[in-house]
C-alpha cells in the first residue's frame, strides 16, 4: 500500500453537550476520491472542519505524507495545500467573480503591490473555461444564481495550489449538466495526483465518482470500503443503523374538498397568470428548473413579495394576502427554501424558534406564557425527534437535519391547513428525508393540503398526487400521479 497522502487517526472532538466525533480514522491517497457519507449530525462536517483548520481536535493526529501536522487556522491548512469548498458560500457578493476566485492571492506587480487586474481576469477566464463554467469573470457574484455561485466556489478552491480538496455536498444545488462538468474536473484533478474528500447525500454519485467510501454514524466511523465492493443498500444500512424499506412512504388519502384556489396570479417578470387548485389530503408537486418561478410562487402566495394581480381563494373565501401574517391567519404555512436565511433565528433557542409564529396566542396579562411556550416546543420537538440536550440550546448549535426539524416543528405548531414545502429535503440525509416524507403523509391524512416544490424528480414523482410543471413563470403542464414520468416532466419543464 502506498504511503497515504493524508492520514487522520483517532480524531475526537466534543462540543458542549455533544460528542461530535469519537476516535475517527480517515486515510486519503493521492489521486483518490474518498466519499464521506452519514446522516446529518453524524460528524462529517466537524471532521472536515478539523481537517481544514476551522476546529481543533481534542485528541488524535493528522499526518500529511507521513509528517505529523497541526492546523491552528484555515490559513494554515490552505498553506499546506488543503482547500475546502463549503456548503455555505464564502463569497463576497459585491466583488466580481475573478476578484472572488483570487481573493487573498491576487497577482501583483511591482513593489507597491498593484493588483494586475488584466492577468487576474485572464486567469479566471481560463480556469472557468477549463471547468466548463459559463460565468463572466468580470460580473459581480451578487448577480449569480445559487448553482453558479457553487461553481465559482469550486473554481476558487481549484485556483489554489491544492494537494487535497474537500468538497461538502458540491452537487446539492447543481443541475445534471453542471454535475457532469464538475465530475470531469474532479477526474482531471485525480490524474494530477490530487486527493479529494467528497461529502454527498446522493448515493448514486458514489459509483460514478468515488473510489472508496467511509460511513460515519453518531460521530464514529462505521466502516470504510472500496466502491463497487459494497452495495448502496448496505451503505444505507450502515448510515442509519437499520433497514430502510420504503423510500417514499406514500399513503393513499381520498382527496377532500378544495382548500385553495389560485387564479391568474401575476408578478411582472416572475409569475404570469398562474392558476391551480389544491384539495384537502392532496400533495400537489411543483416541478421545474431552477429559476422557473417556483420559489417566487411560494413567496407570492405567502404574501412575502407583492403581486400585481390574481385572486387567492381559501376554503371558498377570497382572501387578500399582503404579508406573511395575513397568510398565516388565512391558514397557510411556508417552509422556506433556505432554512438559515429564511427559516431560523440561529442565535435564539429552540423554544423561541418553534413558538415564534404562534406566540401571540401564548400570552397572559400581556406577559408571555413561558411554561406554555416550553410545553408546546417540547411537544413538537419530541414528535419530530429533534436531538438536543435541552430546548434552550441555540439553533446554531444543532446539526443541519435537526435545524430543518426545528423549522418543521415551528410550522406544525401553527396547525395550518395549507402547507407549502419549498425544497423540503435539500441537504438532509436519507433517514431524515424519510422522516420528512412520513410527516407529509401524516399531514395529508389529517386533511391538510400540501404544495411541494422540489428539484428532485424522484421525490416529486414519489410523493405527489398531482404535479404542476412550471416554466418561465407559467404553468407549463399538469400531470396526474399515474401519467407522470420523469421524461414527461422534464419535457414540459424544458419546452412545450
Amino acid at each position: 500500500m502506498p504511503n497515504a497522502l493524508l492520514e487522520m487517526r483517532g480524531i475526537t472532538k466534543a462540543f458542549p453537550g455533544v460528542q461530535a466525533l469519537r476516535d475517527v480514522d480517515l486515510a486519503l491517497h493521492a489521486g483518490e476520491v474518498h466519499v464521506l457519507v452519514g446522516e446529518n449530525g453524524a460528524g462529517k462536517s466537524t471532521l472536515i472542519k478539523i481537517l481544514s483548520g476551522v476546529y481543533q481536535a481534542d485528541r488524535g493526529t493528522i499526518q500529511l505524507r507521513g509528517e505529523p501536522i497541526s492546523f491552528r487556522s484555515p490559513r494554515d491548512a490552505q498553506d499546506r495545500g488543503i482547500s475546502t469548498v463549503y456548503q455555505e458560500f464564502n463569497l463576497v457578493p459585491q466583488l466580481s467573480v475573478a476578484e472572488n476566485i483570487y481573493l487573498g492571492q491576487e497577482p501583483v506587480r511591482g513593489w507597491l503591490g498593484w493588483v494586475d487586474r488584466g492577468r487576474r481576469t485572464a486567469a479566471a477566464r481560463e480556469l472557468l473555461g477549463s471547468l466548463d463554467i459559463a460565468v463572466p469573470p468580470g460580473g459581480p457574484v451578487r448577480a449569480l444564481g445559487v448553482a453558479e455561485q457553487q461553481l465559482v466556489e469550486i473554481a476558487r478552491a481549484l485556483s489554489r495550489a491544492v494537494r487535497i480538496i474537500v468538497m461538502d455536498e458540491p452537487t446539492a444545488a447543481l443541475t445534471a449538466h453542471e454535475i457532469r462538468g464538475l465530475f470531469a474536473s474532479i477526474r482531471a484533478l485525480k490524474t494530477r495526483g490530487v486527493g479529494v474528500i467528497y461529502i454527498s447525500h446522493r448515493l448514486e454519485e458514489l459509483a460514478e465518482i468515488g473510489d472508496r467510501v467511509t460511513v460515519l454514524r453518531d460521530g464514529q466511523r462505521v466502516g470504510t470500503a472500496r466502491v463497487g465492493e459494497v452495495s448502496t443498500d448496505a451503505i444505507i444500512r450502515m448510515m442509519v443503523g437499520r433497514e430502510v424499506r420504503e423510500k417514499y412512504p406514500k399513503t393513499a388519502v381520498a382527496p377532500g374538498e378544495e382548500v385553495l384556489r389560485v387564479q391568474g396570479l401575476t408578478r411582472p417578470g416572475v409569475l404570469t397568470d398562474v392558476s391551480f387548485s389544491l384539495r384537502r389530503g392532496e400533495i400537489l408537486g411543483i416541478a421545474g428548473l431552477v429559476g422557473a418561478g417556483r420559489t417566487e410562487l411560494a413567496l407570492a402566495l405567502f404574501g412575502a413579495v407583492p403581486v400585481a394581480g390574481g385572486t387567492v381563494t381559501i376554503k371558498g373565501r377570497t382572501v387578500r394576502v399582503r404579508s406573511p401574517r395575513d397568510a398565516i391567519r388565512a391558514g397557510m404555512a411556508l417552509l422556506p427554501e433556505d432554512r438559515k436565511r429564511q427559516g431560523l433565528v440561529l442565535v435564539q433557542p429552540i423554544v423561541t424558534n418553534i413558538t415564534l409564529p404562534v406566540v401571540s396566542r401564548l400570552q397572559r396579562w400581556g406577559l408571555l406564557d413561558r411554561r406554555g411556550m416550553r410545553a408546546l416546543a417540547r411537544r413538537f420537538a419530541g414528535a419530530l425527534r429533534i436531538v438536543t440536550p435541552d430546548l434552550d440550546r441555540r439553533v446554531a448549535y444543532l446539526s443541519g437535519g435537526n435545524q430543518q426539524k426545528v423549522v418543521l416543528a415551528k410550522w406544525l405548531a401553527t396547525r395550518s391547513e395549507i402547507v407549502i414545502f419549498d425544497e423540503p429535503t435539500r441537504g438532509i440525509d436519507v433517514g431524515a428525508k424519510i422522516e420528512v416524507y412520513q410527516l407529509m403523509s401524516d399531514l395529508v391524512a389529517q386533511g391538510t393540503g400540501i404544495l411541494m416544490i422540489s428539484s428532485e424528480l424522484p421525490e416529486v414523482l414519489g410523493m405527489s398526487d398531482r404535479i404542476l410543471v412550471m416554466r418561465r413563470g407559467r404553468v407549463a403542464g399538469e400531470f396526474s400521479r399515474e401519467d407522470a414520468t420523469a421524461e414527461r416532466l422534464m419535457a414540459a419543464a424544458l419546452a412545450g
Binding site: V18, A327, I328, R341, T352
Partner: protein, 321 residues
C-alpha cells in the same frame, strides 16, 4: 449516543453556571475597593446618592439604546433629543404650568422617536443615517428655539424631580431603577421583547414567521425617544432651566454602556442586566476618577480604553468557547 438525548427528556437551562457573566460584577467590586481605599469619601451614602442622581439620565437612554441595538439598529438621536425636550418642556411649563410641560416633553420625545422609527421601518435608509440626521436637526432646533440661551423661571414643583428623594433614593435614581425593572420584564417576558430579539437575530425569518417586523422595529425607537425625553426632563429639573447644550455626546456613552455590558452590536442578543452593569462601570469610573482629581480629559481616554477592552475580551471569550 448516551450524550445525545431527545428533546423533552431533559429539563432546565442546561448550560450551567455562566462564569463569563461574573466578569463585570468582579470588575465593579474591584473598582469599588480601589476607589474606596484611595478616597474615603467614595463609599459614603452622600457620594453614592450623588452618583445615582448624576447618572440616571444616562441609565434611561441606555435602556432605550439596548432595545434599538438588540433589534439590529442604533439610535444617535438621544443626546440631542434630551436638549430639545429640555428647551420645549421649559417653554411649555412657562406657558401652561408644570404637569402640561412634562407631558409636552414626553410627547415630543415620543414623536421624534416615532419619526425615526417610521423612517427605519419603511425606508431603506440605514438607522445610523436616520438618527444621525435627527441628531443634527434636534440639536439645531434646540438652539434655534431657545436662541442659544437657557430658559429659566420654571415652576418650583420641577425641583422635586431633580433634587427630591423617595426615602433614601433620589427621585432621578428611582425613575431609572423603575425603568430598568419594567423594561427588563418587557424584554424578557413580553411578545415585544421576544420579537425584538428575533428581529435582530434574523429579520427575514421573523417576517416569514408572520411578525410585522417594521412595527416592532419602529417601536424600539419610540421607546428610545420616550426615555430620552424622560432623561431630558430630569436634567431640566437638575439645572432648573431649559438647556439647549445638555446631552452632548450622551448617545455615545449610552452605546458604550450597552456594549461594555456585553450586548452585541449588530443585534440578536442582549439584556438590560448587562446594560445596568455597563452604566455602573461608567458611573463608578467617572465619579471615582473625579474624587481622585483625575482631569476629565484623562477620564475620556480611560473610558475609551475600557470600551475597547470590554468588547475585545468578549470576542476573545467567544473564540475560546
Amino acid at each position: 449516543m448516551d450524550e445525545r438525548v431527545a428533546a423533552g427528556t431533559l429539563r432546565g437551562r442546561g448550560e450551567g453556571v455562566r462564569w463569563e457573566r461574573l466578569g463585570l460584577p468582579v470588575v465593579l467590586v474591584l473598582l469599588g475597593i480601589v476607589f474606596g481605599a484611595a478616597n474615603r469619601n467614595f463609599l459614603t451614602a452622600a457620594n453614592l446618592s450623588n452618583v445615582a442622581r448624576q447618572y440616571s439620565p444616562l441609565a434611561l437612554i441606555s435602556i432605550g439604546q439596548t432595545f434599538v441595538i438588540i433589534n439590529g439598529g442604533i439610535d444617535l438621536t438621544v443626546g440631542a433629543l434630551m436638549a430639545l425636550t429640555s428647551v420645549c418642556a421649559a417653554l411649555a411649563m412657562l406657558a401652561w404650568g408644570f404637569a402640561p410641560g412634562v407631558l409636552a416633553g414626553l410627547a415630543l420625545g415620543t414623536a421624534v422617536g416615532a419619526a425615526n422609527g417610521v423612517l427605519v421601518a419603511r425606508t431603506p435608509i440605514p438607522p445610523f443615517i436616520v438618527t444621525l440626521g435627527a441628531l443634527s436637526m434636534a440639536r439645531g432646533a434646540a438652539f434655534t428655539i431657545s436662541g442659544g440661551q437657557p430658559i429659566s423661571g420654571l415652576p418650583t414643583p420641577l425641583l422635586w424631580l431633580g433634587s427630591g428623594a423617595i426615602g433614601p433614593v433620589p427621585v432621578p435614581a428611582a425613575v431609572a431603577l423603575a425603568a430598568f425593572v419594567i423594561f427588563h420584564i418587557v424584554l424578557t417576558r413580553t411578545r415585544f421583547g421576544l420579537y425584538t430579539l428575533a428581529i435582530g437575530g434574523n429579520e427575514e425569518a421573523t417576517r416569514l414567521s408572520g411578525v410585522p417586523t417594521g412595527w416592532y422595529k419602529g417601536m424600539a425607537y419610540v421607546l428610545s425617544g420616550l426615555l430620552a425625553a424622560t432623561a431630558g426632563l430630569i436634567l431640566t429639573a437638575r439645572t432648573f432651566s431649559g438647556q439647549p447644550t445638555i446631552g452632548e455626546s450622551q448617545e455615545l456613552y449610552a452605546i458604550a454602556s450597552v456594549v461594555i455590558g456585553g450586548t452585541r452590536l449588530g443585534g440578536g442578543e442582549g439584556s438590560l442586566v448587562r446594560t445596568f452593569l455597563g452604566v455602573l462601570v461608567i458611573a463608578i469610573l467617572g465619579n471615582g476618577l473625579n474624587l481622585l482629581n483625575v482631569s476629565s480629559f484623562i477620564q475620556m481616554i480611560l473610558i475609551g480604553l475600557i470600551i475597547v477592552l470590554a468588547v475585545g475580551t468578549d470576542f476573545v471569550r467567544e473564540r475560546i468557547r
